[in-house]
């Protein structure tokens, strides 16, 4: 359930309707219930419409956002944050929906935002570079100061080089 909440927050962050994701329960003996759940979910998705089109995002943009979210989820920072959070749940033993929502909101949401933006920055420099800092900020849609911070961190690591105000991946 915490995983589901994290996934929902991630989808919301990249601009996908989080109703596209559902977590439901049906036991092995509850075939009619399962049929009901699938039928309802299918009609819900039908009413939302095709991915991207309904959200008013182009396919390429969406792919960028999804790839950024993907690498953010792969990396240690978000995963350790998530692990620490679940540890707290085990200690308290309170798994109510509201508590999960509150805790994820409190502990993970800002981390999701920074990690996704950071990954989108490097991804865009790689795919669309050479690119200026201004264009980068506009496309990623985060605060300019944050983007600047990520870029300087990347250049310190030697991943990104700047020539005449244009950023590109170090060859």
């Amino acid at each position: 359930m915490i995983t589901a909440e994290l996934a929902r927050k991630m989808l919301t962050k990249i601009g996908i309707n989080s109703n596209r994701f559902a977590l439901e329960w049906a036991s092995a003996a509850e075939a009619p219930l399962f049929v009901q759940l699938i039928t309802d979910f299918t009609s819900k998705i039908k009413s939302i419409g095709p991915l991207g089109e309904a959200e008013d995002i182009t396919k390429d943009e969406l792919q960028f956002k999804l790839l950024a979210a993907r690498s953010a989820l792969e990396q240690a920072k978000l995963r350790t944050g998530f692990g620490k959070l679940t540890k707290g749940f085990r200690k308290d033993g309170d798994y109510s929906e509201q508590t999960i929502k509150d805790k994820v909101e409190e502990k993970l949401v800002s981390m999701i935002a920074t990690e996704t933006a950071k990954n989108e920055t490097i991804l865009r420099i790689e795919k669309e570079g050479p690119i200026s800092l201004d264009d980068l900020t506009k496309k990623v849609g985060a605060a300019a100061s944050d983007i600047e911070k990520y870029v300087s961190a990347f250049s310190k690591k030697g991943l990104v080089t700047e020539t005449d105000g244009q950023l590109s991946i170090t060859k």
Binding site: I16, E24, A26, I38, I45, G49, P50, A69
Partner: protein, 68 residues
């Protein structure tokens, strides 16, 4: 494309012990349900990772259903 014609692609992650078995018995009992769901069997819903869900959307599905 109107929404009547739109046939969504839905990815279903079904737990081996619960929903997968329910889907199986729904088939045996010949219940009718929409054919949009492509099922992936996981041995337990606890195996789910947020990455799977993002990956599914990356691959172009319109919805993800996790059944425990």
């Amino acid at each position: 494309m109107s929404h009547e014609q739109f046939n969504p692609k839905i990815l279903g992650f079904l737990c081996n012990w619960c929903c997968y078995a329910a889907a199986d018995s729904a088939g045996v009992a010949r219940y009718q349900y929409p054919p949009n769901v492509r099922a992936i069997r996981v041995m337990c819903t606890g195996r789910m990772d947020p990455l799977f869900i993002i990956d599914a959307f990356c691959a172009g599905t319109d919805g993800v259903f996790v059944g425990g």
